[in-house]
Structures are given as structure tokens and as C-alpha cells.
């Protein structure tokens, strides 16, 4: 059963220097209870895609999509007011920087109670009780004391837990987590990821995890989308992506990691060059300039999607039958 189905999302920003095409035709699906990951490096458009869905981008953003179906309802023709009712209620969001996501002037309790009162129409005491339950749910001790504390009195890890509590308080069907552990220490991040996993099992929430950390996405997500320069270049279930990657960017990304070469002092295999300028994105495949296996057709044309079965889809010319003929295809 599909909870979210996005078809052909395009987002462009109007800036002084021109139009930045941040998202160029992204389509994705999330099933009920599923956990999907969107990986990519900075500027690839992963955060912007999600913020486009939620309509929380600045005014100079142009958002277009063929269709955005959430829980059976088409969102593209709905007014902004409808979407804002979904936020915090049916769709929760967690961001990277918990210090700036929480209002420093209000207590934790105050901020937890707010969505409950607004979206669920609870009374003050009902909301307070639920808020304290949520604080315990995210494994913070002494909920009554925490309720009246301010964000700066808590550590980074605790604030992130509060963010999770806030996002889950209205029991949303979908949770969008944008780099939830990037700013946290390793041992704290491990705790948060474990917490998210457990909560997901308990509450059946679907999760979209946005991150650049391949290790995190491998351990947390069932299905993964790999983004580069505003497009999805490869997608598949976790095993397909990590044991059988096909797109040169995915392969390159995995080879960059020191863990992939094991011990033994071999050199890492970096991806040379830098991502393209999205004001003038290239006409063909955006990865051409950095791809070791680039062909003439790559510079000229954007590849179509090739379905390799079991949900593994790759957008790369190397899978074209002519590529096989030219001896270039078949990526090891």
C-alpha cells in the first residue's frame, strides 16, 4: 500500500544570477511502514525535494510536479493552507540542527504541547500528559523536569530526541528526517538511530531519511534513492545498491569510503572534479564530467531509466544495448 507517490517533481529557484534548477524531475514512492533513504552530496537536491513537498521553501522557489499523492489525496492542486495542516500532523519533520529548530524563548513543554493543541484539539492538561509520555518514549529521564526546561539547557542529543518527540507527537504517517544525526557525536548518533528504528517498529511510521552518510542509510533504510545534481541516478533496495551498484556515481561514492577498501594501505578512489553549476545544468547526464566511463552520448543526452528488476532502476547510458555492443557496458 503506497503512502506517498511523487511524480516528476521540479523545483527552480529565482536568484539574481539566474534560475537554479535544484530538482529536475524526481519521482519516488514510499510504502506504509517502509523506511527509504535519499543519499547524495551537498547541492544534489535531496533536502530541497522534501522541502518542496512540504512547501516550506522561500518565495523565490517555483515548485511543479505531475502528481503528489499522499495517503490517496492529490496534493498538487491543494492550497498552501491544506499542506500546512498536514505538517506536524500527518507528516512530521526532523532537521539537522536541533538548536535552530527549537525556539530558544519557549520551554520544551510549551513547544511539545503546541502541535497537540493545534492539530489534535487537545486541552491543556491532555496535551501536557501526552507531551510527558512522548518525552519518556524518546528515552529521556525525568519528563516532568524536562517539560519546564529550555532548549539551551539540554545537550545536542537530547534536543534531537525532543525533535523526534515533537515530530511524532501527533502520530504522523510519514516522518521526514533531514540529516538527523549529522551534527551529533558518533555515540549519540548511534543512540538516536536505534531510537528511530525502535519507534518505527512500535508506531508503524514510514520514514524518509535524507543523508550523505552511506553507512547510516545502509543500516536504516530498506529502499534507497541516489541523487546527483537534481536527478535520481539510481534506486533500489539496500542490498542491490550496496552489493550490486550499477551507476558510476554510486560505485564511485562507495569506493570513496575508507571502509570499503578494508585495512591495508591502498589509496582511496576519489571522484575527481566538482558537481555542475545548476544555473546552467548540462543537457546530458550531469555526472559526465566526473565519470571515468563517460561516452559521447552521455554529454549530449540525459539517459533514460533502465529497470533491472526487483525495483533496481538505473539512469545510465552504459546499460543501453549499443553500449554493450561498443564494449563499454557491463559494469563490474
Amino acid at each position: 500500500m503506497e503512502l506517498l507517490n511523487v511524480k516528476n517533481l521540479r523545483t527552480t529557484f529565482n536568484v539574481d544570477e539566474g534560475r537554479v534548477q535544484a530538482v529536475r524531475g524526481v519521482s519516488l514512492k514510499v510504502k506504509k511502514g517502509q523506511s527509504i533513504g535519499i543519499v547524495g552530496e551537498s547541492g544534489c537536491g535531496k533536502s530541497v525535494s522534501m522541502m518542496s513537498l512540504m512547501r516550506i521553501l522561500p518565495k523565490n522557489a517555483d515548485i511543479n510536479a505531475e502528481s503528489i499523492l499522499f495517503d490517496g489525496v492529490e496534493l498538487t492542486d491543494k492550497k498552501p493552507a491544506y499542506i500546512s495542516k498536514l505538517r506536524g500532523n500527518k507528516i512530521g519533520m526532523i532537521f539537522q540542527d536541533s538548536m535552530t529548530s527549537l525556539n530558544p524563548l519557549f520551554t520544551i513543554g510549551n513547544q511539545l504541547v503546541e502541535p497537540l493543541k493545534i492539530h489534535q484539539g487537545m486541552s491543556g492538561s491532555e496535551a501536557r500528559k501526552k507531551a510527558e509520555e512522548m518525552i519518556s518514549l524518546v528515552e529521556i529521564s525525568n519528563p516532568k523536569k524536562r517539560f519546564s526546561q529550555y532548549p539551551h539547557e539540554l545537550s545536542g542529543g537530547m534536543r534531537q530526541r525532543i525533535m523526534i518527540a515533537m515530530s511524532l507527537s501527533c502520530n504522523p504517517k510519514l516522518l521526514i528526517a533531514d540529516e538527523p544525526t549529522t551534527a551529533l557525536d558518533v555515540t549519540i548518533a548511534a543512540q538516536i538511530l536505534l531510537l528511530m528504528e525502535n519507534l518505527q517498529k512500535e508506531l508503524g511510521t514510514s520514514i524518509i531519511m535524507i543523508t550523505h552518510d552511506l553507512g547510516v542509510v545502509a543500516n536504516m533504510c530498506d529502499y534507497i534513492y541516489v541523487m546527483y545534481a537534481g536527478v535520481i541516478v539510481e534506486q533500489g533496495c539496500m542490498e542491490s545498491i550496496f552489493s550490486n551498484p550499477k551507476h558510476p556515481y554510486t560505485i564511485g561514492l562507495i569506493s570513496c569510503l575508507p571502509a570499503s577498501i578494508g585495512s591495508g594501505k591502498k589509496r582511496l578512489e576519489p571522484i575527481m572534479g566538482t558537481p555542475p553549476d545548476l544555473i546552467k545544468p548540462p543537457e546530458g547526464c550531469p555526472f559526465t564530467d566526473r565519470c571515468k566511463r563517460a561516452m559521447i552520448v552521455c554529454k549530449a543526452e540525459m539517459p533514460k531509466e533502465y529497470d533491472l528488476g526487483k525495483g533496481h532502476i538505473v539512469k545510465c547510458h552504459l546499460l543501453h544495448p549499443l553500449a554493450q555492443k561498443a564494449g563499454k557496458g557491463v559494469i563490474v
Partner: protein
């Protein structure tokens, strides 16, 4: 192009030269070029710039072209309304007001710019040292500043003028006693926030002296702020001088500043209002123009926007 129309040729490898690699696509822009681009977009700022440019041209060349001098008295034409011979009319001693306004422009601009520059230098050095040194030195320097601010400005300006006489030099001195304080505070806060930047630490690891860091890193990075402040100092000084002269304690006749002209025009305010209007307008428009420029600069130099 239809995927089925591809040819085998297209699947040959792309050579390294055909890829872009490390090139920087956009034109080189420095901080100032960028700022100028933004400044140009602000219509009020441009108007201000034009007004000041015109004013400066008039101030320098005007008096040479004008057939009259600022002090030639001709009682036969006294108190005349503006005409084709005397564009702004004449005053009670028959002097051409337009010419006097031009000379007045010289004085106002001179005092405004000179005092702004002097205050700038004092303020930057004082604020820079206080901010960089921090600790006790900073504390002492700032308490001195607090004391100076506490004194009633007008009072000691008047005292100074009384002792030193009413000339341009003494006005400049009077304006320099406290007008640098705003700049100093601003530079100090800039330096305070910048001195912990990584590039300052990097300079320290290379063995840079404190003076080197202050003058090569901290002050240049505060330049935007500084220039903007200076642009506001000029109208402040012009106004102060005009005000003092208007009260009769500034420049004395026959040297004409706009304030003096306004002062002269008080007795004839209702009978010959033009004698007051022209100097007053000159003061207002000039100050407004500088303020427009200052606002435009503030927006153009906003550090949040670049890099």
C-alpha cells in the same frame, strides 16, 4: 532525441579534454565589484550619488564661473528676489546668494569630509586596538569613551569655539572630540567578532604580529562597515557645522557657510523668505543625498549575501 535513434558512434569514450573539470565558470568578482553591482540597483542611492557628484562639481568650478564673488557688496541691488541676473536673489548687502551658496558648498563639503576622514582614522585605530587587545586594555579604553560621551557635546563645543575663535580649524577640532566614538565602537565590535576567525589563527601560526593581523586582516574585513559609517559621518558633520553657524557660534561672516547664510536670513524670514529657503534646502538635500548613499552602501555591503 529518441533513444532508439542512437548510433554506435555515440558510445565511444569521451576524452578528458571534453570534460570541464576544475574550471570556474563564472566571471571573477571581487567584494567591491559585487557591492557596486548591488549598489547600482538601488535608485535612491544612485540619485544620492548623482546629487553629491553635481554638488562637488559646482563647489569646485562654480565660483570660478560665476561673475560674482561671495563678498562683493553692492547696496544698489540689495534684497532682490531671484531673477535671471541673480538666480537665487541677493542678500541684505547686495551679495549674490547663488555664489554664496556655491562657496558655502565648498565649506560644508570641506568640513564634512575632513571631519569624517579624521574621525574615521581616530575611530578605526582606537576601536581596532580596543577590540583586538581585549581584556583590561579594552575595558579601560571603553570607559574613557563612556566618559566622553557623557559630557554634553554642545556645551564643550561652544566652550572650545569661544577659546579658539570661530574658524574652520576650530570647528574641525570641536567636531573631532566625540564624533569618532561611533566609528570606534563599530570597529571594535567588528574586530571582536572577527578576531577568532580561522584565518586569523592561521596567520598566528605563521608568526604574524598583532599589528600585522589588525591591519592586514581585521580592518580590511571591516572596511565595508567602516565606509558605510563614514558616509553617515559626513552629513552629521555638515549638519553640526550648519547648526553652529546658524546659532551664530560657527563660521563668522564674511566667510559664508550655509549655516551662516541661514543665520543672516533670520531677520528677513517673512519678507524675503528665499534668503532662508535656499541655504536650508541646500543643507537638507545634501544631507539627504549622503544618507541615501549610506543606506545603499549598507545594503550593498551586506556580508550575508556573498560567499
Amino acid at each position: 532525441m529518441n533513444q532508439d535513434n542512437y548510433t554506435l558512434e555515440m558510445f565511444k569514450s569521451l576524452s578528458e579534454d571534453e570534460k570541464s573539470g576544475e574550471d570556474i565558470v563564472r566571471e571573477s568578482t571581487s567584494y567591491w565589484k559585487d557591492a557596486w553591482k548591488k549598489f547600482k540597483k538601488d535608485p535612491l542611492a544612485l540619485i544620492g550619488l548623482v546629487i553629491i557628484a553635481v554638488l562637488i562639481v559646482f563647489a569646485i568650478f562654480g565660483p570660478m564661473i560665476s561673475p560674482y564673488t561671495y563678498d562683493k557688496q553692492d547696496y544698489s541691488v540689495k534684497n532682490q528676489w531671484p531673477s535671471s541676473e541673480h538666480w537665487f536673489g541677493t542678500d541684505k548687502m547686495g551679495r549674490d546668494i547663488f555664489t554664496r551658496i556655491l562657496y558655502g558648498a565648498r565649506i560644508s563639503l570641506l568640513i564634512g569630509i575632513a571631519s569624517a576622514v579624521i574621525n574615521l582614522i581616530i575611530g578605526v585605530i582606537y576601536g581596532g586596538i580596543a577590540g583586538y587587545a581585549g581584556g583590561k586594555i579594552d575595558m579601560v579604553m571603553m570607559r574613557i569613551v563612556d566618559l566622553l560621551i557623557g559630557l554634553p557635546q554642545l556645551l564643550y563645543i561652544i566652550l572650545l569655539m569661544t577659546f579658539l575663535g570661530n574658524n574652520i580649524g576650530s570647528i574641525l577640532l570641536a567636531l573631532c572630540i566625540t564624533y569618532w566614538i561611533g566609528t570606534a565602537r563599530l570597529v571594535r565590535s567588528q574586530v571582536l567578532s572577527l578576531k577568532h576567525s580561522d584565518y586569523v589563527l592561521a596567520a598566528k601560526t605563521m608568526g604574524a604580529s598583532d599589528a600585522f593581523i589588525l591591519f592586514r586582516h581585521l580592518i580590511p574585513n571591516s572596511m565595508g562597515m567602516i565606509i558605510m559609517t563614514v558616509t553617515f559621518l559626513v552629513p552629521q558633520a555638515i549638519f553640526a557645522e550648519a547648526f553652529l553657524s546658524f546659532l551664530g557660534i560657527g563660521i563668522q561672516i564674511p566667510v559664508a557657510s550655509w549655516g551662516t547664510l541661514a543665520n543672516d536670513a533670520i531677520p528677513t524670514l517673512f519678507t524675503r523668505p528665499y534668503q532662508m529657503i535656499f541655504p536650508a534646502l541646500s543643507i537638507s538635500i545634501t544631507i539627504l543625498a549622503f544618507n541615501f548613499i549610506g543606506d545603499g552602501l549598507r545594503d550593498a555591503l551586506d556580508p550575508r549575501l556573498r560567499g
